[in-house]
Structure formats: C-alpha cells, structure tokens
C-alpha cells in the first residue's frame, strides 16, 4: 500500500533532480508510474472485495513519525471502503490525464517538469485519502496544495498566472488553518488525532467542542473545495494547463473537502450545528457557482464555475445526515468522470484553436471535431442529469434526500438544489451551443482539427464512464452498501420518504428542459464580442458576484494599509525610540564635552568651585 504513495513521489523527485537529462523519457516514466499505481489500486480493490464487510479496512504502519508526550502520530495508512473509491478515481483519471498530457504538452520544453508535478500531485493526493489520522491527511492536504500551486503557476513567466497560483495557495492556506485548528481541538479533547481515536472519543465530547471541530473542518473543506466564502481562487486557477484543470481542479483535489467531511462523519453526525453550517455552505455555493457559470465566456472558467456548483451539491449531501454521505461520494465519482471528460474536451478544443479560450470565438466545431463533440456531449448529458446518464443517478438522489429532510428546511434545500439543476442546464447548454453548434466565429488564421489519439482516447474512456458509472454505482445500492461500514448509514436507511423518487426525477427533468430550452433559444445567434449592455445580474456574474472585490475591500486593502503602517511604525516608533535614546545621550555628551576644553585653569576653577561647594555643604550641615 505504501508503494501507492512512494512510487509517484520518488518518480517526481527523480524527474526534478535529474533535470534536463530526463527530458527525453520523463513523461513516459511518469505515465508508467501512474499506471502502476492504478494497477496496485485495482489489485487492492479486488483483494478488499474478497473480504467480508467488517474486515475490509486495513491499516499499515510505515514508521513512527512524531511521538512527544501523549501525542503519538505514526506515518501509517488506512485503506478502507471509502479511500479505495478515491484511490481508484485518482489513479484512474490520473493515468488517463497523464496519457492525454503526453500529447497536450508535446510542444512545451518543460514537459518533464509538468509530469514531475503531476506525479507529485498523485502522491500527495493518495496520501491525503490514505492517511489514517488527521495529521497524515494534513500532510497530503498541503501537499496537493503545493502541487496545485506549482501546476497553476506552471507558466509563471506570465505574471497573471503567477498571481493566480499564489492566490490559490493563500486561499487554501486559510482552509488549512481550519484543518489545523480542528486537529488541535481533537488533540486537546481526545488526546489523539487518529480517525479511530477521534471516532471513539466523539461519543464523550461536549457538543460545543464537536461543533467547533465540525466548523473548522468545514472551513478546511471550503478552502480546498472552493466553497463559499473561499471559492474565489478556482476561477483563476484555470491559468494552469488544461489537463491540470481536469485532474486537480475538477476530478480530484477540489473534492478533497467532500472526502474530509465524509471521513469525519462521526463528528458531523454528532453535531447538528455543524450539519446546518455544512448544508448552508453547500447550498450557497451550488447556486453561486451556477450563477457565475451563466456569464462566463472563457470555456474553462465556465466549467470551473460548474465544478464549484457541483461540489456544492456534494457538500450539501454530506450535511444531510448519514444517508447523504454515500450520495455525495457517488456524485463525486460520477462528477469525476464527466467533468474531467469535459475539461479534456475543452483542452482538445483549445488545442485545435491555438489556445483560444473565449467561447464567443468558437462556434460550429462539432463537424470539425466529431470525437471531442460527442464525448463532450455525453458528459453534458451526464451533468444535466438526463436519464440514464451518470448524473441522473447521483444528482437526483441528492435533490431527493434534500427534500426528505422534511418541513421548511427540506423544501428550502430541495428547492435550491432543483433551481441549481435548472441553472446548470442553462449554462452547460450555453457552453455546448457556443462551442459546437451555430455559425463559425473564429478568425481565418485558426485551423480547428481533431486531436491525436493520445488525446481523444482518454476522452472516450471518460465519456464511457459518464454514461455508465451512475448506473453501475447505484445498481442494487452497491455504493451505499459498500460504504455503509464507514459512514454508519444503517440507522438512516429506513428514513421517511416524503417525495417519491419518480416525482423528484420528473421535477428535475422539467427544470432541466426549461433551462436548456431557454439557453438554446437565447444563444441562437451569438456576437463574437461580449455585449456591454447587459443586465446588472449578468454584470455581477461576470465579476464572480463581486467576490474578488469584496476580498479586496475587506482583506487585501486593509492588509496592505496595515503592512505599510506597521513598517512605518517599526521605522519611526520602535526603532525611533531606540534612536532617540542614542540621540539624547549624544546631545548630553556634546554639552558635557565643552567642559573638557584642555585649559588647566578651567579644571583648576572647577576644582576650586568643588572645594568651595564642598566646604559650604559641610558648613551648612554642621552648623
């Protein structure tokens, strides 16, 4: 199991240390290693499948890491039903994207470095899902942050990309602080930071402590998964090469927050306050992302907004109690397929269009890029939730579970999720229409063409996943049963069913058709320059609902002012005080120095005066 992490890590280190020597074969090694990890993952899956439910989880202690006082943390791994899902997703999609990148990055002279970062990411992400304690998870958590930073800033000679990378890291760091505080509370409460220990201790903990841990974990999830209020980095993260956006910022890393909450199910099950926070964040983000998605002309940013929104669905599902976790993971897996597929499709389009990302400059590409169009279309149907594609199984379940919360809460959550589905249909249809149908709007210089087999083969595989994964995962509730030992869903399966699944599906379908239909009529003709005269709503959506401006006004500007103020304070007040002491001393000595004029008679006079004053004092005292 440890090879899962060690192999890609070593390969990444090797490629970075060897430098230019490895340029010729670096990408092959990295792809091979990634495929090997996938093979190991599959082998682990089958050996786990052969066991009965209770014995499936295995731990492996690698070495003793930190042992101070009663804090004992081993570098040890936990492979259970939940983590194997992620292992397969990460290594599977990861390998496909390695293959895709061989062709996509062919003309970049730093291709070796790119593959080294990809392997680094695979290692860190696997550590994240395999760590058996919050601290091990944290190492992977920051590790993927680093890999994401490196990959977003892969073309960091462009200052805007370098800034985007930095922004992503900082936003992630804010989330990381949440995770580290959660770890600290766990240790102070339970004296341990391992999942098993915290789970055992959670039964005795005070509700306040549990809510605090839950809130901090949610903050961490919000940072990593681009949830409200830390979501602003994801759009800018599209500065990275497109395969990166597919792997890290769609399929795997950004879903780590969902993993964290699912992994910590014992905390959230015990704290209703934390659950309310989770669903609130989820709902806000799913609507937020969907609204932003409606106005983006950059194909990658539109997909990024969609990712944000879809993860909002997952986070919402994790906040719905024990039954929600499995649906969150199911949506996560199906989303991993269709969104990665669509990103690769976007990459294929960009590859054919000389890296043009503005969808207003596309149009009518379906005839020239048939494979890309078909695979993208399958992903599109999946994300819309059209039966029987993958999203239908996962997303409708989430909407249904939300309605089943009952009362005003259920209607509120379910309604929001339903509206989100409608908006999703609108903006995704917009993307498809703008890109693949209608009249051509590209300039004469471009020669759109279908990509090579190395690029379209992974897209085809992911498209098959987009079609079939939903059915496979929900057939006979297979995923729900599989995850049941981890998330303790047994006590919730018999929950009340307020809305029939069929009703929900029909409602969702209606909403989707409305959204898609509106988009088709609205974008029958498309100007190739974004119109200036648009509604306030569109303007706000184009600017990410002013999230950046808000951050600027609330954090960046005051921070800059504070920094300048403190620098001045240090210069003039603190160091000034030190200099003042020195200045006063030197001024005093300047005065005193005048007495030392070198004339004997001055000294004699002072001596005489001293004697006189001394005599006077003696006389006064004795008299």
């Amino acid at each position: 199991m440890v090879y899962l992490i060690a192999l890609p890590l070593l390969s990444a280190a090797l490629l970075l240390v060897l430098g230019r020597i490895a340029d010729k074969w670096g990408h092959l090694l990295a792809t091979f290693i990634s495929a090997t990890t996938f093979a190991i993952g599959v082998a682990e899956f089958f050996s786990m499948h052969g066991q009965s439910g209770g014995n499936r989880a295995v731990t492996q202690k690698v070495f003793e890491w930190i042992a101070v006082g009663n804090l004992k943390v081993d570098a040890s791994l936990l492979l259970d039903q939940l983590s194997i899902c992620f292992v397969l997703l990460i290594t599977g999609v990861g390998t496909l994207i390695h293959i895709y990148s061989i062709a996509y990055m062919e003309h970049d002279k730093d291709r070796r470095r790119f593959f080294a970062y990809l392997n680094l990411f695979i290692a860190a992400m696997l550590l994240l899902v395999l760590g058996d304690s919050y601290l091990n998870l944290y190492v992977g958590w920051e590790g993927v942050g680093l890999a994401s930073y490196l990959l977003i800033g892969f073309w960091n000679q462009n200052p805007a990309y370098a800034v985007a990378a930095k922004k992503a890291f900082i936003a992630n760091r804010v989330g990381d602080v949440g995770l580290s505080i959660a770890i600290m509370i766990s240790f102070a409460q339970f004296g341990t930071v391992s999942f098993v220990g915290v789970k055992a201790g959670a039964a005795h903990a005070s509700p306040v402590a549990l809510s605090a841990i839950g809130a901090m974990l949610l903050l961490a999830a919000a940072g990593k998964s681009a949830q409200f209020p830390l979501q602003s980095w994801l759009g800018d993260a599209m500065a990275g090469p497109t395969p990166v956006s597919a792997l890290i910022h769609a399929a795997t890393m950004v879903t780590a927050g969902v993993y964290l909450i699912t992994r910590s199910n014992f905390i959230f099950d015990a704290s209703s306050t934390a659950r309310i926070l989770v669903v609130t964040v989820g709902v806000i983000t799913l609507l937020f992302g969907a609204i932003v998605g409606t106005a983006k002309d950059d194909i990658k940013k539109a997909l990024a907004a969609s990712t944000m929104s879809q993860i909002g669905y997952m986070i919402l599902a994790t906040g719905l109690g024990p039954v929600g976790y499995a649906f969150a993971i199911m949506h996560l897996l199906t989303h991993g397929f269709f969104k990665a597929g669509m990103f690769l499709g976007a990459g294929s389009v960009m590859h054919g269009m000389e890296d043009e990302v503005n969808m207003r400059k596309y149009g009518g590409l379906a005839r020239l890029m048939p494979i890309t169009a078909v695979t993208f279309g399958l992903g599109y149907l999946a994300i819309l939730g059209v039966p029987p594609f993958a999203g239908f199984y996962s997303k409708d379940k989430i909407i249904e579970t939300a309605f089943n919360q009952g009362g005003g809460k259920g209607i509120l959550l379910g309604g929001a999720a339903l509206i989100g589905a409608g908006i999703t249909a609108f903006y995704m249809t917009r993307v498809v229409v703008l890109t693949f149908s209608g009249a051509r709007r590209w300039k004469d210089g471009a020669h759109p063409h279908e990509s090579s087999i190395l690029m379209w083969a992974p897209m085809v595989v992911l498209a098959i996943g987009s079609v079939a994964s939903g059915f496979l995962l929900s057939f006979g509730s297979s995923l729900v049963n599989w995850l049941q030992p981890v998330v303790n869903a047994s006590n919730a399966v018999g929950g009340k069913e307020l809305m029939k699944p069929l009703v929900v599906s029909l409602l969702a379908l209606v909403v989707v058709i409305l959204g898609a239909g509106y988009a088709i009529t609205k974008y029958r003709t498309v100007p190739d320059v974004a119109p200036e005269k648009v509604s306030l709503f569109t303007k706000a959506a184009r600017k990410d609902l002013y999230q950046d401006d808000l951050n600027d006004a609330l954090l960046v500007k005051p921070g800059k002012a504070l920094t300048l103020g403190l620098v001045a304070t240090d210069n003039y007040v603190i160091d000034g005080a030190v200099r003042l002491v020195g200045w006063v001393l030197s001024e005093i000595s300047d005065v005193l120095r005048k007495i030392q004029n070198g004339y004997v008679r001055t000294y004699a006079l002072i001596m005489l005066a001293g004697i006189f004053i001394g005599a006077l004092i003696i006389w006064v005292v004795t008299a």
Binding site: G598, Y599, R601
Partner: protein, 99 residues
C-alpha cells in the same frame, strides 16, 4: 594672642595666588602664584603652631618648603623646555595633547 590677623593675611595671600593661577596665562607667573599659595599656607601653619604651643605646624611648613623647592626645579625645567621649543611661555599654547 589674637591670631586672626595672621590668618586674614594668609587667606588674602592664598586668594591672590589662586586667582593668579586661574587668570594669568604666562607659565612663570602661574608658577609664582603657586609659590604664593604655598607660602600662604605656610604662614597659616606657623600661626597655628604658635597658637597651639607645639612645633608640629612648623615642621609641616618645612616639608612644604622642600616640596616647593622640588617643584620649582621640575617645573622651571619644563617651562624652559617648552619655551625653547615653542618660543612662548603661555600655557594655552601648550595644548599638544588636546585632540
């Protein structure tokens, strides 16, 4: 016997000497003023010796005379040397150690 007149004279002589040292710049004159101060104190010593009826004060004044004589020898030698090298006996000019 009333010693106050002797002591007044001694004080006046001493003050003249001290003022001379403080005010005059010629090394020779300063020297003479120092001698004046020494002798003023000698006068006071002898006066007290007389009034006390023992010889202690007179003995002390002899010591003073000896010291004064030695001082004259060393001091004059220095002054002459300075005068030779700098053509001046002013104490203000002899400021080579300053700065």
């Amino acid at each position: 016997m009333d010693i106050s007149n002797y002591l007044y004279l001694s004080v006046i002589l001493f003050t003249i000497g001290a003022l001379g040292v403080l005010i005059r710049r010629n090394a020779i004159v300063i020297f003479m003023c120092i001698e004046l101060m020494l002798n003023a104190s000698n006068l006071a010593l002898v006066t007290f010796s007389r009034s006390n009826g023992n010889l202690d004060g007179q003995v002390a004044s002899f010591f003073t005379m000896v010291v004064a004589a030695c001082e004259v020898v060393v001091g004059l030698a220095i002054i002459v040397t300075i005068y030779r090298s700098r053509r001046s006996a002013s104490v203000d000019d002899a400021s080579l150690l300053k700065n």
